[in-house]
Symmetry: C2
Subunit: 258 residues, 2 copies
Amino acid sequence: MNILVTNDDGINSRGIYELVRALREIGNVIVMAPLGEQSAVGHALTVSLPLRVTEFHKNGEFFGFAVSGTPADCVKLALRTFFDERRLPQPDIVVSGINHGRNTAVNIIYSGTVSAATEATVLDVPAIAVSLTSYHPEADFGPAAEFMKRFTPNVASLGLPRGTLLNVNVPAVPSNEIEGIVYTKQGASFWEDEFEKRVDPQERPYYWLKGRYILEDKDPSIDDIAIRENKISITPIHYDLTNHAFLETLRSHWPKTF
Amino acid sequence: MNILVTNDDGINSRGIYELVRALREIGNVIVMAPLGEQSAVGHALTVSLPLRVTEFHKNGEFFGFAVSGTPADCVKLALRTFFDERRLPQPDIVVSGINHGRNTAVNIIYSGTVSAATEATVLDVPAIAVSLTSYHPEADFGPAAEFMKRFTPNVASLGLPRGTLLNVNVPAVPSNEIEGIVYTKQGASFWEDEFEKRVDPQERPYYWLKGRYILEDKDPSIDDIAIRENKISITPIHYDLTNHAFLETLRSHWPKTF
């Protein structure tokens, strides 16, 4: 199995290192990931600037290719140009992560980790986004990496519908405390956020985003509730954004002339 | 009616100027838009850098507030902090555009114009994203602006479901050639894209994205087909990304133990 691994925390992050270490036991892993941190970049593509690719080494060995762009850039560049140019095999699956922090509910729309997996599905390659539900600097990525080693071959063999990826969130607890897997809906938890106004050393004002995550949605079938119960949450997501139910209302009741 | 106007082409672009000029005839318009061009930024939020706000003048008059961030940043900052701080009224509706170029099919997931409207719906304010389907430098934004002047009050009075926005694409033809309004689905047209490899003056390689848009989806109820028939395409979109049909398959047939 040929696996492309990418992320949004950057090629030098711990999450991608642990993921690659685990997946190298089950397949041929090629890493193409952002050189720098790209959190909350959404589904950005770099169109007004060129992209650079550099070889990135870790512990004295070649680890992967670092790209001066976004997670979606990495996947598009790998699949559409770079792998062919280097005579590298096209991947059977793309795995993005392990993100340092949960990607649930509204967070999904801001997530670079998820956007990389979405870009893979745009290009018709099955994909998984995986996140560890902890922001702690010493968080243990081991259990999430171990899970991906077992789960990735399932996804490759069982298959996914065209345009659909799996968004995996692994609770930040030891492996023996994980209470199984649950297939979930994207929940409706949200951020109560605001901007803190500060003044710089030149006495000019600036604003900095800060927020508190509100776990309001109590539906037992959603992502955040699964995690709270120490279960691995797996949500199938796609990029058909049409609200089909409301489309019927529009067609029946809204104006049709300019 | 209080209207927040933003965009992704930047506060100095022609599309936002024509939109603001038209909407000022029907309401109290406040502009908060990116200082620079932010195309294809997806739903990016600026979290690792502070945001600056400057007052932007046009033709010798105050036009609006320019933000050193993304379209989603503009909406979040306006609604969550800046308008209250300046004692400006909270908007009844957010209008994002007029984008220079279509936002249909897969383009929606990369679009900063749409992401600004999405951010408004995240914050429970109704929103419209509007695009003109031409990249021509001299494209006439007049008909699209005229349409938004008539249509925006409808949206404010008829209302939208929570979390849903309207994605409007206006064909780039004179008003008298527009063949009405059609409510559409997000289509499945796509980009046949690749990266062009070049060498810089220091003889280092770089890659630059280029692509050709393939209008393959022939379903008559989709966005791109409406435009081709000189109709205004209006697609209701939301950010519930769950693939509910495949979720049932996962629950029935996929593994549940770690």
